[in-house]
């Protein structure tokens, strides 16, 4: 490998001083043009819909009913944001009421954070044990967790509803939390056990020789090493919980537990369809996951691949 590498470098060196350099320059320019055209295309592809969403959110209603669309609103306004963030401050403006967006936001946040923390704790414990176990039943449990990811959520809605109701958990954040946590746990276990497998067993065995118990080894050696994986999985879990819609739609009834996704869906069923307000709601709902994704992008990807690919 090393020898080849040197050869390769020699080759590029000789290429640079060869007489066909001009042609290569031309090619380089063409390649660069292709690259930047591609970059522009990709950038537009990603940003254009977002941009339109934002433009919609700051357009007054009468400008939205325009064909062709006003790509730049003539009278931009943040009225929609005001209406959503401070519903009591503005008088009724549609015959339907404005969903209490703040409440939905809080519900989503509370449920997603609780799900993330509990899943990380319970999921990591289970994943660690499964990663270190040598028996077949442990393998079976791992397959079970993968299998559970395949159950269509909709098939469990009715029995789950009956179960939740028996415990008085319909229309509570705790009920949503329980359901989300259970549906996310298999995923967390799957990712984390893959992650734990990348941590050499020898480290713990060495610790055991030094008189550490398994839980000590877990806390002192494995936990710090797996922290990046846990952070990544946790962020992923948060995003999943924030995104969930079906259970929230059917298991909530009031804004004491309705989440942000349900609030968004209700915009479309109220009396008048106010796309400006909907777009504003969409942008507000997207802020937490988008911020998390932007800030922790590297971590999420690393953890995800470490867990998933090596699982």
């Amino acid at each position: 490998m090393g020898q080849r590498n040197i050869d390769g470098k020699l080759k590029t060196l000789t290429a640079k001083s060869s007489p066909v350099r001009r042609l290569q320059n031309l090619r380089a320019i063409r390649a660069a043009a292709f690259t930047y055209a591609g970059a522009l295309l990709l950038g537009l592809l990603i940003l254009a819909p977002f941009l339109w969403l934002f433009i919609t959110s700051i357009s007054p209603r009468y400008e939205l009913a325009a064909a062709p669309p006003h790509w730049a609103p003539q009278h931009p306004t943040f009225l929609n944001y005001q209406k959503l963030l401070n519903p009591s401050g503005s008088a009724a403006f549609t015959s339907g009421e404005i969903p209490p967006f703040g409440e939905a936001f809080k519900n989503s946040l509370a449920v997603a954070v609780a799900v993330t923390l509990v899943c990380l704790l319970l999921g990591s414990l289970a994943a660690y044990a499964l990663a270190r176990a040598r028996s077949r039943s442990a393998d079976r449990l791992i397959y079970l967790t993968i299998g559970l990811r395949m159950v269509p959520e909709i098939s469990l809605v009715i029995p789950l509803y009956i179960l939740l109701r028996r415990f008085g958990l319909i229309d509570t954040r705790f009920g949503l939390f329980l359901v989300y946590a259970s549906f996310t746990l298999p995923f967390v276990i799957w990712i984390m056990q893959g992650y734990f497998r990348t941590i050499p067993r020898e480290l713990e065995e060495a610790a055991a020789i030094d008189g550490c118990s398994r839980s000590q080894a877990l806390l002192r050696i494995v936990a710090p090493l797996s922290l990046p994986g846990m952070v990544a999985t946790g962020l992923f879990t948060f995003l999943l919980a924030w995104d969930e819609f079906l259970f929230a739609l059917l298991f909530t009834a009031t804004y004491s537990s309705k989440t942000i996704t349900v609030a968004i869906s209700e915009f479309t069923t109220r009396h008048l369809i106010d796309y400006g307000l909907m777009a504003t709601g969409g942008i507000l709902a997207a802020i937490p996951p988008v911020l998390i994704a932007l800030v922790f992008q590297k971590k999420i990807i690393q953890g995800l691949t470490a867990g998933a690919v090596k699982g």
């Binding site: 009468y62 009913a65 009724a92 403006f93 549609t94 015959s95 339907g96 009421e97 319970l122 414990l125 809605v157 009715i158 509803y161 009956i162 109701r165 028996r166 415990f167 008085g168 958990l169 319909i170 229309d171 509570t172 705790f174 008189g211 118990s213 398994r214 839980s215 000590q216 739609l249 059917l250 009834a253 009031t254 209700e266 479309t268 069923t269 109220r270 009396h271 008048l272 369809i273």
Partner: protein
Amino acid sequence: MKNQSRQGKMWLLSGVVLIFMFTAFGLLAAGAFAAEKTTITVLSSDDFAAFRKAAIPDFEKANPDIKVNLISVGYDQLHDKIVTALAGGATGFDVIDVDEIWTAEFVEAGFLADVTDRVTAEMKKGIVPAGMNILTYQNRFWGLPMFVDTKFFYYNNDLLAKAGFKTPPQTWAEFVEQSKKLQEKKLVKYATIWGWGQHEGLICDVVSIFPAFGGRFIEPNGKFVVNNPDNVRALQFMVDLLYKYKAADPASITADDRSMLNSFIAGDVAFGLNWSFAWGIIDDPSQSKVAGKVRLALMPGEKKKSASGAGSMGLGIASGSRRKDAAWKFIAFLAERQQQKNQAINYGALPIWQSLYTDPEVQKKHPALAEMSSQLKYAVSRPRLTWYSEFSRVLQLEVHNALTQNKSPKQALDDAQKEIERLAKKYGNK
């Protein structure tokens, strides 16, 4: 040895976690029971939720021992919400909002409590039959109507005058004529937009148009005649409105009775079918560009003078409710004359009391009342079937197949007939 005790600790820890989980469960469950005073929970559609919300303080003042918790959801979500909530005799809701097409289904499913003994003689006598009927099933009463409603024909008088028409269309043929003129004069791009997405709203328009052409779904002897020639002609007319006369915005195919209002209040179209609640929006200058320019007319006819799809709703008591008396008090309160008057004047609904239609104050303050009540005579109900949801689903699909030109109207209704006959056989024609 040391290892052993550490493992013991791990056991302990997981035990603690488990116990914690189950106590949390228990506490929450207990909390749900402890909160049970006389708070009644009402599941209401959005349509007149604003009125109901406003009435609660008055009700609570009159009944200090009862607290009302009103939950409103969009009409589109209401049926599914009720079904999931009441599956197997639930106690979560005390009062539920019932569309007239759900009565048979909900009674058969045991969702509704029989209120026959609670209905007073005054109610039986004073409430219009079209209203009282909607929650009557097997000769028993299952709730009280809250408003009487059908599809109404709204038109923009301003645009019509500009096109040189003094009167709105009286037949669907005239409707096409006027539409053409409006479009030729470039007053509008399309004369109308319909809420013809694939949902229940489509059937409400179908039962406004099919009967006008002489169509029907069920013969008096109970036989289904979904594909009778009058229906086919009517459906052909609906298709032609879109593709031949091009009088309707093609976006009708994806719209509903809410989204079509956007075009109507912007003044982009001249005609539109909608419920009574729409009047409150159309005539409100803060929401509508066409406030003051819109009038109501009798729905156009063809073979028949006029026809319009009925869509009244009412409130019933959930059979699992443990607060039925309080629940009834609330329902009866909203049905009272004074509340009904308020609902009519401030929210544009048609009242359930016969006497309110001649009440001078209502007549004065509800400018569309006269036209609306004359339309009531031509109201057509959708079939009353315990399996109505499935009937409607088949009809929605096949009508949509015709409207999207997947099938010819004849073919679509033939297919609908076949499937509906199969369902009728399966459910024993009930």
